[in-house]
Symmetry: C2
Subunit: 524 residues, 2 copies
């Protein structure tokens, strides 16, 4: 990925004339992008790596796999939240890890951790680098030295078991790499978060990720069968069976542990045969409440779509679900999307059941095209954010989840907190929302916020983020549905699990990482 | 429940002439039951409760709720494993808690725990008392005093949310009590383990229970939305949303914690509308492998039955799935059972899909009657065990789970370990098995073992249990699929989670229960 934006250079999307017109009208910005800095010109914090430390690391992973290159350090300078990107685009020196280390396998990961624990070196485990919550930022804590531990060489696939539908994947595999290896066996994982193209298997587990097909294939935590984890104190292998009553499920301590308790090096996942048939269908609902009730009927009846989404009036009106048409002719109502996958008979039976429920709940079928268009553009939104940041427009997303009965209230409270906070700063925002993940008992709410940037857009967003975090926890939501805690949500973790819950996590960390080298400043 | 057997006196089942004939033929036993001891005649370990301790406890819960009665103590003397029942039927004195305490609510539970932590009193949290792994046995560890903390007064229902399909249940509610309270709202939990009639909501959570309808409604851990837990260090409230990425899922540390980390006082569960329609269907398969492959096709396709079971040839031959016919005319092949629940349209669509898959996989439909007969008798098997124990026949069950590809191997290894061990002791067993729970990646195996008792049947079973535990862990299974660890499976916990995993659990326990009063000798 490029150092100061999302993705690859070829993915950059200049703003369409439609969007530029919209921005001029709503925010009064010209839409002319500011030039980004040339990577080579960026001053970087000097590496604190001593030659003794370099020798120590090289002895474990080889000289080619310990880098203090400007290029490598800059690419491990943090994740891809809007504050991350704004910091990177700001004038002045950039912080970065003192070195980037590329271990070859589990044993090397363990050796590096043990070395760093005894040499007071902080370690940021690094997968795809797509965190949007500060999860891979080079926070040193009490340590003078910090390395990024890049897992990109852990790309194996083993123990492919088509009978049981499981496969063991190296933590460094990206989404497309994993799907390609599985496709050779006629299998698929079916985990498609927006970060799919760049994020890694280990990162999916470490951040408790959820993909766009979660209605059908589950969240990533549902897919995890077994984990291999390196900690400074040794190795853990967790998960012996499809289900067990042998005490607490320790996998669930490490799924979502964000590299603070150990480094996940291998994940055995549930996979499925590549679907015979995929059916798409879009629907229009007169308003969000009607659409939400319709989605609820589908998920509570067990009609089992693969994808089930609903955009609110604001998001539908701007065509945000259909990237090619953003800012085009206004669309009324609320757009919903379903897909069904499996055998032809399975798809026919399930979509018939869902279609009947959606129609009975007030939906109007729009055919397959809008759903296919959404699917086509579904990984592109972060590029759009970059284009907006380039023209002085703030763009960020955040998400929560709550019960069906609390969904409308929480949506209103979050929207009000964002609107009040940004309007109070003189930059009234556009706030759009969709339901991206559904469960029998509730759903997620994913918000996109756009506003004119102030001179200090990081401070501007920080004020809004604080307000919305408070609104979420007092409004009965979770501070994050699928983007983890990192640095950005840490202030609200006690509201999620209580002070005693935080103490439990600290006790586990102390047992596995007594020196506290693992990802300081994140999660707890 | 009665003190020395399962259930209530009215449930007792004398052995049929058919079964007596079978026992005479196979084991050479007469089938005439030994009289059980009269409860009042049983010598009991003297209560160590001091008057100061009684005063301390009474101050918190009231005089009526601190009992040292012979009757109460005997009913809290342990669980209902075969060794438990054999111990209770043996000559001589019985061990029991020094007192039984009945707190009224969460706050009283916390107060009692804090008191016991500061007064060196061990605490066995006690729900329905149905543990079959020694989970509620009065193991004192280093403590001179031990109380049973009986949660039967925590029977509230609150926050019933029919829109979201959730309800908050007191930990002391039994299965039938919970279903009755939910039925008043048109709702059902759908958790039907064999212990349903007596076991409690808190116990289901603390032991990571799984019910017979798990294919449709999930394991109990899937149902848990929120937990309220009292620990000596304070209260935990865990679970804020239907799904979250806010760090490790701490609920999963307490589900399955078996009262060693805290006392679960309240559980918010996922519930569903009482089904409109229930469809039953039985099938015959020529052999276990064919039947297992058929079940796999159903669960991997997502045909979503509520119940999905398969008895092996031995179990089918003895009609064990149909309690009225046990030992009757031999039946060949393997019996499978499906039920489907939901709206009429849902049941029709799902059962059509499953029936096509089962027929294509080699099944012959047997109509609804055998499935209805199984459902009718499904909670009665433990009474049958008591009748066998009464006539000098050993009867015990155990279960494991593994992947589909390992299922046949593991079944053979477990069967061999049981057969070799008991035959080696001169008591060749009958070993029967069924698949009771299915997952996309694998299934459970539930074994029933019957053999002639030796003079010391506890030692006899202990030898067999040791052999089978080793066979399970070396054979790639989990030491328990739905009955928890307790005392009986503790030797194999390091094989499940590793020594480092055990250290993690100990670190959590030390944080929450530094005095170590909570359920000593269980789990870790």
């Amino acid at each position: 990925m490029v150092w100061d934006a999302w993705g690859i250079p070829a993915g950059r999307q200049p703003l369409s004339a439609q969007i530029r017109g919209l921005l001029a009208q709503v925010f009064g910005v010209s839409g002319d992008p500011v030039a980004r800095r040339d990577e080579g010109d960026v001053p970087l914090r000097e590496s604190a790596l001593t030659s003794a430390q370099r020798d120590g690391l090289v002895a474990m992973v080889g000289a080619d796999n310990v880098s203090t290159d400007h290029h490598d350090r800059l690419r491990h300078a943090g994740g891809k939240s809007t504050p991350d990107l704004l910091r990177r685009r700001a004038e002045g020196s950039q912080d970065a890890p003192d070195a980037v280390v590329f271990p070859a396998d589990h044993d090397q990961v363990f050796e590096v951790l043990a070395y760093c624990a005894s040499h007071e070196v902080a370690v940021v485990p690094f997968g795809g680098g797509t965190s949007v919550v500060g999860g891979v930022d080079p926070v040193r804590g009490r340590f003078a030295m910090l390395i990024a531990l890049d897992l990109r060489r852990l790309v194996g696939i083993s123990e492919v078991d088509p009978i049981s539908g499981t496969a063991t994947l190296g933590a460094g595999l990206t989404g497309p790499q994993a799907e390609e290896l599985l496709a050779a066996h006629g299998l698929s994982l079916g985990h498609f978060p927006q970060s799919f193209e760049f994020a890694s298997i280990g990162g999916f587990a470490a951040t408790r990720s959820s993909g766009q097909a979660s209605a059908g294939y589950g969240r990533f935590d549902d897919m995890v069968q077994r984990l291999r984890i390196a900690t400074p104190m040794g190795t853990l292998e967790l998960g012996r069976a499809p289900a067990s009553a042998a005490g607490p499920d320790l996998r669930e301590l490490f799924v979502g542990s964000e590299g603070t308790l150990g480094v996940i090096t291998e994940v055995t996942v549930r996979v499925h045969p590549k679907p015979e048939t995929v059916g798409h269908q879009a629907w229009s609902f007169p308003d969000f409440a009607t659409g939400a009730a319709a989605l609820r009927a589908v998920v509570q009846t067990g009609a089992a779509p693969t994808v089930l989404r609903l955009s609110d009036e604001a998001e539908t009106g701007l065509n945000l679900a259909r990237s090619g048409d953003i800012g085009g002719n206004a669309v009324s109502g609320c757009l919903a999307i379903t897909t069904f996958e499996g055998t032809a008979a399975h798809v026919a039976a399930r979509s018939a059941e869902a279609n009947a429920l959606l129609a009975a709940a007030g939906g109007t079928p729009l055919g397959a095209a809008p759903a296919e268009q959404w699917e086509h553009g579904r990984f592109a939104a972060p590029y759009m954010r970059d284009a907006l940041l380039d023209v002085g427009v703030l763009c960020e997303t955040l998400e929560t989840a709550t019960t069906w009965s609390n969904l409308a209230d929480l949506k209103a409270k979050v929207t009000a907190a964002l609107t009040d906070s940004l309007t109070g700063q003189g930059t009234p925002p556009l706030v759009m929302c969709h339901i991206s993940h559904t469960y029998p008992t509730g759903a997620s709410l994913y918000f996109t916020i756009v506003a004119k940037q102030l001179d200090d857009p990081i401070a501007q967003w920080h004020i809004a983020k604080s307000a919305v975090g408070d609104a979420i926890v007092t409004g009965g939501g979770t501070i994050t549905h699928h983007h983890a805690v990192g640095t950005d949500h840490r202030p609200w973790l006690p509201a999620e699990v209580g002070d005693l819950g935080v103490r439990v996590l600290r006790a586990v960390k102390k047992e596995l990482d007594p020196a506290g080298i693992l990802n300081p400043g994140k999660l707890i």
